[in-house]
Symmetry: C2
Subunit: 284 residues, 2 copies
């Protein structure tokens, strides 16, 4: 099913570039569009893509069987709107966006009837950005989440499964866009708010020399791309605020039992968190 | 200075056992006292100690030049009180406790004048407990924090430096007991409250299949010994509540700017956290 497909990556950053690298490795033809001429030149020089353009070149767009958007969330709908007249009939379009509801339904609503958009979210990344850091190995430990709606065909879902397998994702799973955004609000966005707030709660640089691995592990994601994450948070605002509120209620409850020196209640909190965390061990 | 010193470990758990292992490796004579006969037998069988007892054997206690308490925080003062009549003159006593003010001044107040107690905190550990998991390599990446007071001699401080170097601690530093407890309230205790509360804020076990490394890193320390950490938190209650309050104010401030969709303020939070976190990179 993947055989002989030609891929176009729009937005050649870390994820788009890593997709391109992995697809080339498995002998697909890969094109890319990015507004940054340096990104395109770098990718051509390093054989990450076969052809590229800094503009929305109709000739390049209509060569693609599959288009994957690596654009920032707010730019995707606009890009599809402006360029879909160049799409080949039956083009499959997907994305890498970390929120789904805020963009997916809009794209499916405006998209030409003879093309199909299926949402996907590779839960992969690095603390650095740009095609210069592209790395096909970031998918190996990662989940690929597909978020089909009733507008999607089984064929498109099957194709994305095969795509995920070829790129060696550790796991491929399906969620509704709503469940995806709820899950990501807790597992990813809330954890980023916590890490950011923990760093911002203290300005003592001298603490570095006393810092252990736990603190470093917990705050690694406090190094964050401010433009991307501001968009992602705003697009999932209701879920994220809900998760922040639940978490803060839980912290408040712990604070209160500590203040009252209710040792039994403290122990119960620790026992519960220990039991729950065990489910998340990779080998459990 | 360390030459020919005989060490007694009281409380042969993970840390006490790891100290014993490391000291034996460098050819010191090491004794241990623990109420658990299995711990003592295991340590004897595996040549982790030279002699051991399940009781506070006066003959064993008075052989020691250096006594290190690996007991739970609340048991240390009592143990010194009950057993100091057996101490050899000039015995140096230290500990491994994660809080300092709540125990250190009490011990120094009751201790015989011809002996010396100096507080120390090896910031090392594992998610498992017991001498069966003793491992001298846990000190290699760790800090040893010494918390001398005006009751301590330069000789004792120098000795603990040498002790830390021989055990290959990555870093040895000095803090007042007050600064230690304030620092540990933020870097260690607050991060544990956060991890515990994050796990307790959601009971959906099915999230496991979507979980990425960030969430696992952030919640690893939610697996926690409920007896030990309840003691540690209560003994540093004021500092910890202060840190929880500052952190929750910061979270609340983030929540409010997200609710208002103040993108500029969100970006400033991200930029600040990114800059601050960079100071904590190991190679910075």
């Amino acid at each position: 099913m993947m055989n002989n497909k030609k891929f176009l990556i729009v937005g050649l950053g870390l994820l788009g570039g890593s997709y391109a690298l992995a697809l080339k490795k498995w002998h697909h033809e890969v094109y890319a569009i990015d507004i940054d001429p340096n990104a395109i030149q770098y990718a051509l020089d390093h054989q990450i893509i076969d052809e590229g353009s800094c503009e929305n070149d109709p000739a390049l767009i209509q060569k693609a069987d599959v288009i994957i958007s690596g654009l920032y969330p707010k730019d995707i709908v606009q890009w599809v709107q402006n360029n879909q007249q160049y799409f080949k009939p039956n083009t499959l379009i997907s994305d890498v966006t970390g929120v789904k509801c805020a963009i997916l339904y809009d794209i499916q609503a405006i998209l030409r009837d003879d093309c199909e958009f299926i949402g996907s979210h590779p839960m992969a990344g690095k603390e650095v950005s740009g095609v210069q850091h592209a790395d096909a190995s970031i998918f190996l430990p990662a989940n690929l989440i597909l978020t089909p709606t009733d507008k999607n065909t089984q064929q498109a879902i099957d194709f994305m499964y095969e795509f995920g397998k070829e790129l060696r994702f550790n796991n491929i799973c399906i969620l509704t866009p709503e469940k995806h955004d709820e899950m990501i609000g807790y597992l990813s966005q809330l954890t980023h708010v916590i890490a950011v707030s923990l760093m911002n709660a203290n300005d003592n640089k001298h603490l570095k020399e006393y810092t252990g691995d736990s603190f470093r592990d917990l705050t690694r994601i406090a190094k964050i791309n401010e433009n991307l994450w501001t968009e992602l948070f705003l697009m999932n605002k209701e879920n994220l605020i809900h998760e922040i509120d639940i978490f803060m209620d839980e912290m408040k409850s712990f604070r209160d039992i500590l203040e009252k020196e209710d040792t039994q209640a403290m122990k119960e909190k620790f026992i519960q968190s220990t039991q729950r965390r065990k489910y998340f061990d990779i080998d459990s």
